[in-house]
């Protein structure tokens, strides 16, 4: 049966293979070839090579942590990254800040008919490099092709599994007055990089995304035995969204010193021009860490040992709940409530 299907496949084996066709998702020879030559070859490991319906993974002593995320960023390539590396780091970072050591990820591709194979190749290579850098294996996957117009070139879903490393952070409910909040690097880079690339803003130098794995930074905190209360990667909604959530979870007020918040000059310039506040703009390789005041120096030292967090800076403190959940002190010295934007100022950034 399958032999006959392959012979009657309406699409020639070669020549037409410059771009993704609907047939690439229909289970025939083209699809198998696509998976073997373009995906498995680049991403392969003993779990993926088996090409089963599901990956059988080794036993793990202790709790597992699992997360999932879908990526619809437009454009697919932007300064500092692409949808492939973003799909790996986004999921890996969710595991890392939950206190886990990321181990395995799944990879599901929804491809729009007509995507050039060269584009797919380059994204899959980026996924492979990102997985290696983050120390995870792609152990299972799925490929679907949809007709033109039913998706925008390529959407990716990744699910990640990691091993919880004790002691895990107690979480934002444990935040106490005087705790110090640290940003692991300059904020707002990813959102501005994608926005500038998409809208064709010709900033010089252009903002580049901070898309990167935070695994090493978390390991460094762990190795230095820093008693971390909470960690969150500051993705959609930026640092502001993290602080609003933490304020709600803890019943305390998060108090920001705007002058201390690290912002790259090109991000600041672009934000000024567009009327955005970097504190609301997404990061993809920057996290917020809450530590007790006595551990703040150790935490900063541990973070700064790692390249991805070399510019780590303390920028906020936890206070008793005052007149607002999150407040910011700007140049004029007055504490002002930090607003929460209605929706994303920048759609489709991850």
């Amino acid at each position: 049966m399958s032999e006959r299907l392959e012979l009657s496949c309406p699409v020639p084996d070669s020549g037409a293979a410059e771009q993704i066709l609907l047939a690439h998702g229909e289970g025939g020879r083209l699809m198998r070839r696509l998976i073997r030559t373009r995906l498995v070859e680049r991403l392969g490991n003993k779990y993926l090579d088996a090409l089963g319906d599901a990956a059988v993974l080794p036993a793990c002593d202790g709790p597992l942590v699992m997360t999932t995320d879908s990526f619809v960023v437009s454009p697919l390539f932007f300064p500092g990254g692409d949808i492939g590396s973003l799909a790996v780091y986004g999921t890996v970072n969710d595991l890392a800040v939950a206190g886990a050591r990321p181990r395995w990820i799944s990879l599901a591709l929804v491809i729009e008919e007509g995507l050039p194979l060269a584009t797919l190749d380059s994204i899959v290579s980026s996924i492979a490099a990102a997985a290696q850098r983050a120390g995870v294996q792609v152990v299972t996957g799925d490929t679907k092709v949809v007709p033109r117009g039913a998706a925008d070139r390529l959407f990716i879903n990744t699910t990640g599994v990691g091993k919880l490393i004790e002691p895990a952070p107690a979480g934002p409910a444990s935040l106490a007055v005087d705790d110090v909040l640290i940003a692991s690097g300059p904020v707002g880079r990813h959102g501005m990089a994608v926005m500038a690339a998409r809208e064709g803003f010709d900033f010089d130098p252009p903002p580049t995304s901070d898309s990167a794995p935070l695994v090493e930074a978390v390991e460094s905190l762990r190795a230095a035995r820093v008693p971390v209360r909470a960690m969150r990667d500051a993705t959609r909604g930026g640092v502001a969204a993290v602080l609003h959530e933490w304020a709600e979870a803890s019943g305390k007020t998060m108090s920001i010193d705007e002058g201390q918040l690290p912002v790259a000059p090109e991000v600041r310039g672009a934000c000024e021009l567009l009327g955005l506040d970097p504190i609301h703009v997404a990061c993809e390789g920057t996290m917020v860490i809450a530590v007790p005041p006595a551990a703040s120096a150790d935490a900063l030292a541990a973070l700064r040992r790692v390249p991805v967090a070399a510019a780590a800076t303390a920028f906020a403190r936890v206070q008793e709940r005052g007149f607002a959940t999150v407040v910011v002190t700007r140049a004029a010295g007055q504490q002002i409530p930090l607003d929460e934007p209605l929706g994303a100022p920048l759609p489709r950034i991850c």
Binding site: E272, F323, R330, A332, Q334, P337, D339
Partner: protein, 366 residues
């Protein structure tokens, strides 16, 4: 960052705040004309820091807020037409019309596109010769040169599928209406720095002679705002009224002559209704007869529309500084940025939006 850090310097701010407090022997009422200034004052908490010595009254300087409902409803009607693309600045999309907003039209399949420059809309028209492209031209003197340029450009390119729905407004006639009003409480004006960058400030000399109120050309950063306020308070304390430029790094007395020439070529002054303020003589601009082919109201025939303002919305009182947004009964309850009753709760420069964003919760519920 140059041109920014020095105008947000905490030490300078502290010094200026102390100087204003020291100078004022009574509480003065000063209007910041531009919505951008309102946002700056609230964002940095300057209004609170000067509580008791300066009462800051926000002015009508939010172009989106004063765009009449008729114009918004006509834009919505146009956006619903098949084959027509309405281009606009992003702010305009969420402003409620009589029944819906442009955003709702877009959600229902209407072609509404956000552009950052009117010249982008010209490019869209050039690339889509089979589509009609209408640019919704709103704004004060700050944006008129760019929309005027788009008309000149479309004319040069010979485009017959590009037109403008013009709702441009001029700030000085609105200031005159406020100053002439019998219940005026404004004792001094912080003139809108960006408007003056284009229009200059020579025309304020006559205004000052007539109304005997100080006019201080003021920028938007905290140090700019405080320098402008201090100058205004000093004049008031001495019983003076003069035009003073405190935004020298971007404003020249005669304005931007090249930009003004483009505006003068394309537009002429007309009376225009302002949302919440009624018809202001000389308060708007319309296309000159030689550019009538680019006038969307002529091209598509603006039928008389039945418009209705939500009766609860007090945006007129807010725009004229008669009440603070927080004094409106609906503020933060029936009117929020998610479900706005009026434009000032929507626009990036709207006073209600500024108060909702930055004001202390206690200010909303006294």
């Amino acid at each position: 960052m140059k041109y920014l850090d020095e105008y947000r310097d905490p030490e300078q701010c502290r010094r200026l705040l102390a100087e204003v407090r020291r100078t004022a022997t009574q509480q003065w009422s000063i209007m910041e004309v531009c919505g951008g200034q309102t946002h700056g004052l609230l964002r940095y908490g300057i209004d609170q820091q000067l509580d008791g010595c300066v009462r800051l009254i926000h002015g009508p300087g939010c172009p989106v807020c004063v765009t009449p409902l008729e114009a918004i409803d006509f834009a919505i009607e146009l956006a619903r037409r098949p084959g027509l693309m309405l281009a606009s600045f992003g702010d305009m999309l969420r402003v409620p019309g009589s029944r819906e907003s442009l955003l709702a039209v877009r959600g229902a399949g209407g072609e509404v596109r956000i552009v950052y420059s009117p010249l982008d809309a010209v490019r869209v028209a050039q690339q889509n010769p089979d589509r009609e492209v209408v640019f919704f031209a709103v704004g004060f003197e700050t944006t008129t040169p760019a929309t005027a340029l788009s008309v000149q450009q479309a004319d040069r390119l010979g485009l017959d599928n590009f037109s403008l729905l013009v709702s441009h407004v001029r700030v000085q006639p609105a200031m005159e209406q406020l100053a002439a009003s019998p219940d005026n409480r404004v004792q001094g004006f912080l003139a809108a720095g960006h408007v003056c960058t284009v229009a200059g400030f020579e025309s304020y000399e006559q205004f000052v002679r007539e109304y005997r109120l100080p006019v201080v050309v003021t920028g938007f950063e905290p140090v700019d705002l405080l320098v402008g306020i201090l100058e205004c308070v000093r004049q008031l304390e001495r019983g003076e009224c003069r035009v003073v430029n405190c935004y020298e790094r971007s404003v020249a007395a005669a304005g931007n002559r090249a930009a003004l020439a483009v505006v003068d070529d394309v537009y002429e002054i007309c009376d225009r209704p302002w949302r919440g303020m009624g018809v202001i003589p000389g308060g708007g601009l319309r296309l000159r007869a030689k550019y009538a082919a680019f006038d969307a109201t002529k091209k598509f025939g603006q039928a008389p529309l039945q418009v209705s303002e939500p009766p609860e919305c007090r945006s007129g009182d807010v725009l004229t500084g008669r009440i603070k947004p927080t004094e409106c009964e609906c503020f933060g309850t029936r009117c929020t940025p998610e479900t706005p009753l009026g434009a000032p709760m929507v626009s990036a420069e709207g006073a209600c939006a500024a108060y909702h964003r930055y004001a202390l919760p206690t200010a909303a519920t006294p």
